[in-house]
Symmetry: C2
Subunit: 451 residues, 2 copies
C-alpha cells in the first residue's frame, strides 16, 4: 500500500505543455522520443485543444502506441476528437486485442461501421475476436504473431521477421504451425539466432509447448503463465489450431484486476474501486449490500430482543455487546482473508480443506483463550464484576473459535455452489458471526444468572 | 477467488510415483521431459526415500531448475537430503537470485561455508547480492545476463550467445555496456536477428532504456515493469553501472505477494495467509491485534456506559447497537478497500485527495440516506416505534457519512506518517467507527428523549 508508483512529475508535464503552446517544433522533436506511457501521462493532462494539436504532430500509427494506455472512457473522448482518416489509420495499427477492448462495448451499428472501413485482414481478425466471450482467452489474445512452417529454414524466417510490420511490439518466439495451422511447437529467438541459416524450424523447435484454449478463463491463463514462466502463451482451438497469443504484460493487468476484485469481495465494495465512476454510481453499487446486511442486522436485534429479560435485569451486559461482536467479526474476517487469497493463489488447493480448517480453528481457539483471559483481567480491574468477567471471557473463547470455522468454510461452500462469491464477502461473515456471538453471549449470561 | 489453478491431477502424480517404485528406467525416461513446475508438483508429493531416488536420476544441474519452485522450508529439507557434491553442483547452476533467496536467511557461518565451495565467479556474484537489503532491486536481481561492448559486431555477440551456459533461462535482450561497465543501451534479440553480422551493437541498440537503481524498492520495480511493459529491466548503480537484471516472472511473484499483503493489512491478518505456518505461529501474529482491538473495544463499553441512564429507561435502544455498528463498519471498510487498492495501483495518486474524498463522502451520504429511510420503514413495520425509528434512521445517515471520511483519510494519514500501514487495517477503522457511531446513536436518542 506504499505510495511509490513512478510517474512523470507535474513539472515535466508542465514543461511539455508550455513547449507545445510556445514552440511547437521543439515539442515535435522531443515528444516522439518519450516512452508511450510517458506520452500518455502528458497527454492525459492536456485539454481538448492541446490534444488536438498533438494529433497534428504525432502520426496515427505512432499514436496507436499511446492510445492503449488510456482508460476506455478517455479513449472514447480522444477518438471523438480525431478526424475520420486519423481514426482509421490508428485503429489499423493498434494491436487486435486493444482494438477489441475499444470497440467491443459499442453498439452493433457503430461496430459494423468501423469494421467496414478496416483492411480485409484486420476486419477478419476483428470479426473473429469479437465472437469470443468476455474474460475468455480469446477475448484478450492478439492476432499479431510470427509463424512459420516446420519445413521453413531459419533464413526464410529471419526474412519474414524483417518484413513484418504488424507485430509492432516485441516478438520473442516464432510459432511453428503445419499446413492445417495446427501448432507444432515454438522457437525462441535465441535458438533462431544461434541456429544455422539452413536449418529447418522443425529441427530446432521446442515441441513441449504449454498452450491455453480459446475458451479458457483469463484468470486460468494468468495462473498458467505464472506456473510455467511463459512470456507469450499460444492460444489454440479445441483441435490445436493456433489462433493467437497472449503476452505477459496483458496478464499482469489481469492479475492486478483480480487482486482488486478479491479485495472488493472481502468488503462488498466490488466494482467501486475505479475512481472514475461517480459517487451516485458507486452508491448504487454499494447500497444494496449495505441494506441487505442491514436486513440481516435486524436478526441481531431479534436475538437481543429474545434476551430482553436478562438485559433488563443487568443493563451492564449491553456495554460489552460491541466488544464481543467486534472480536468475532475481526477473527472471522482474518480467516476469510486467508481463504480468499489462498484460493486465488492456489495455495488452498495444495493443502486441502481439513488441513486449512485445522490450522484456522487451532488459531481461533488459541486467540480466543488469550483474549478471554485478557478480558477477564481487564473487567476485574475496571468493573470489579467477577460474574460479568466470566460471561464475557467464556463468550470470547467460544465465539472466536466458531468465527474462524465460519470464516473458513463459508467461502468454500459458496465457491463450490458457484454462487457469486461477493456473497461470501467479509460483511456477511461478520453479520453471521455477530448473530452467533450475541446468542452465545446472552445464553451464557442467562444460564449463569439462573445459577 | 475462483478455483482454477491448473495443476497436475493426483492421478498423474500417482502414476509417476508408481513408475518410480516399479520401473525406475521408465521414470528416468519420462520425468526429465516434464516442465520443471510439473516435476516440482510430483516431487513435493514424494516421501523422503522417493525424493532420494530422484536425486539418482536427475542431475544436479537439471534439479536446479526444479529447486526454485519449492518454498524455502521445502528447499531446506531437500537440501538436507542431498549429498555434498550434489548440493554444490546444483547451487552452482541455480540462478543467482534464487541462490540468494535460499542462503540469505542462513547464519553467517553456514553462508560462508557454502560460498567457500562455490566457483570464484559465483562466489563473487553471491557476495555482491548478499550486501543488498531485502526487498531492494538488488536483492531480487540476477547476475546472469548477456552483454556486449558498443563496438562488438553482431556476429561476435551471436557467438557469445552460443557459448553462454549461465543464462539457463530465456534471454530476450543483449545489454550494451562500455569499458566502465556503464549501461549504454540494449538490443532486442529480434533486432539482432534482422541485423547484418558485421553491424556494430552501437548502431542497432536502443538507448532510451528504462532502468531501476539497485536500492529501489521491489514494489516500485514492479510498477515500472508494468508501466513500461518491460520483460527484463536492467538494474544499475547510482553511476549507471550495469549490475544485474530483473525479469518479469520474478515481478509477477512480487505482485502476488503485494496483493496478499494489501489484504492482510485490510484484515490485520498479515503474514498468516501462508498455510505452511503453524496455528500457534499464526495465533501469535494475530492475537496481539485482536487483543489491542479489544482494548479499544473497552472504549465502546465506556461510551455505552456514559449513556447508562438513557439505556435503562429504554432497553429497546440496545437492540439496534449491532445494526448501527455493522453499517458504520461496513461502509468504512468499503472506503478503506478503495484506498488500499487505489494507493497500490497508483490510481489514487492520479486523482488526488480531494476528488477521492469527495467521491467517497458523496457515496456515504447517499448510502446513508437510503439506509436511513429503509430502516425507518422497517422499524415502523416491525416495532411500531416512531421515536426509535427516527433515532436509528438519523444515526445511520450521520454515521455512514462520517465512516466513509474516516475510511478514506486514515490510511492516507498513516501512509504519510510512514507508520506500518497494518495499523490502518480494517478492524481499527471499524472500531473507530463503532465508537463514533455509538456516540452519535446515543446522543441523538438522549436528545430526542429529553424533548
Amino acid at each position: 500500500m506504499r505510495d511509490m508508483k513512478k510517474r512523470l512529475d507535474s513539472r515535466t508535464i508542465e514543461t511539455y505543455r508550455k513547449m507545445l503552446n510556445e514552440d511547437g517544433s521543439a515539442f515535435a522533436e522531443r515528444f516522439p522520443g518519450l516512452h508511450s506511457n510517458e506520452q500518455y501521462q502528458i497527454l492525459r493532462s492536456f485539454g481538448r485543444e492541446e490534444q488536438g494539436a498533438v494529433f497534428e504532430i504525432i502520426s496515427p500509427e505512432a499514436f496507436a502506441q499511446v492510445f492503449k494506455w488510456f482508460s476506455r472512457d478517455e479513449q472514447l473522448e480522444l477518438y471523438g476528437h480525431m478526424e475520420e482518416d486519423y481514426r482509421m489509420r490508428m485503429l489499423e495499427r493498434l494491436a487486435t486485442d486493444d482494438v477489441r477492448h475499444f470497440i467491443e462495448p459499442m453498439g452493433d451499428g457503430a461496430q459494423k461501421g468501423i469494421l467496414s472501413k478496416m483492411s480485409a485482414t484486420k476486419r477478419r481478425h476483428m470479426e473473429e475476436l469479437l465472437q469470443y466471450d468476455r474474460h475468455s482467452a480469446g477475448s484478450i489474445m492478439r492476432k499479431e504473431f510470427v509463424s512459420g512452417a516446420p519445413e521453413d529454414d531459419v533464413a526464410t524466417v529471419v526474412e519474414k521477421l524483417k518484413d513484418d510490420t504488424t507485430t509492432y511490439e516485441a516478438v520473442h518466439f516464432v510459432y511453428v504451425v503445419d499446413h492445417d495451422q495446427q501448432l507444432v511447437g515454438l522457437v525462441a529467438l535465441r535458438d533462431l539466432l544461434i541456429a544455422d541459416g539452413s536449418q529447418q524450424l522443425k529441427e530446432i523447435c521446442d515441441t513441449s509447448v504449454h498452450t491455453v484454449t480459446v475458451d479458457m478463463d483469463q484468470e486460468q491463463v494468468a495462473h498458467i503463465i505464472q506456473d510455467y514462466d511463459i512470456i507469450a502463451v499460444p492460444v489454440v482451438s479445441a483441435d490445436n489450431e493456433l489462433l493467437g497469443i497472449i503476452t505477459v504484460d496483458d496478464i499482469i493487468d489481469i492479475m492486478e484486476l483480480e487482486a482488486t476484485e478479491d479485495m472488493g469481495e472481502l468488503t462488498a465494495s466490488r466494482g467501486t474501486t475505479d475512481m472514475n465512476i461517480s459517487p451516485f454510481r458507486a452508491a448504487r453499487k454499494r447500497a444494496p449490500w449495505i441494506m441487505l446486511l442491514m436486513g440481516l442486522g435486524l436478526i441481531t436485534a431479534n436475538v437481543i430482543g429474545a434476551f430482553e429479560e436478562t438485559l433488563e435485569s443487568v443493563v451492564l451486559l449491553s456495554f460489552f455487546i460491541p466488544l464481543v461482536m467486534d472480536a468475532a467479526g475481526n477473527t472471522g474476517t482474518q480467516s476469510l482473508a486467508v481463504m480468499v487469497r489462498t484460493i486465488s493463489t492456489g495455495e488452498y488447493q495444495k493443502h486441502g480443506l481439513w488441513r486449512t480448517l485445522g490450522r484456522e480453528l487451532g488459531t481461533g481457539v488459541m486467540v480466543g483463550a488469550a483474549s478471554g483471559i485478557t478480558i477477564i483481567t481487564l473487567i476485574l480491574v475496571f468493573y470489579q464484576e467477577l460474574w460479568l468477567a466470566f460471561v464475557v471471557g467464556i463468550s470470547l473463547l467460544l465465539t472466536l473459535s466458531v468465527a474462524t470455522v465460519i470464516g473458513t468454510i463459508l467461502p468454500i461452500i459458496i465457491s463450490k455452489l458457484k454462487i457469486d462469491p461477493a456473497v461470501a464477502s467479509g460483511p456477511f461473515i461478520t453479520t453471521l458471526n455477530d448473530i452467533i456471538g450475541l446468542f452465545i453471549y446472552f445464553s451464557i449470561a442467562t444460564t449463569l444468572l439462573q445459577i
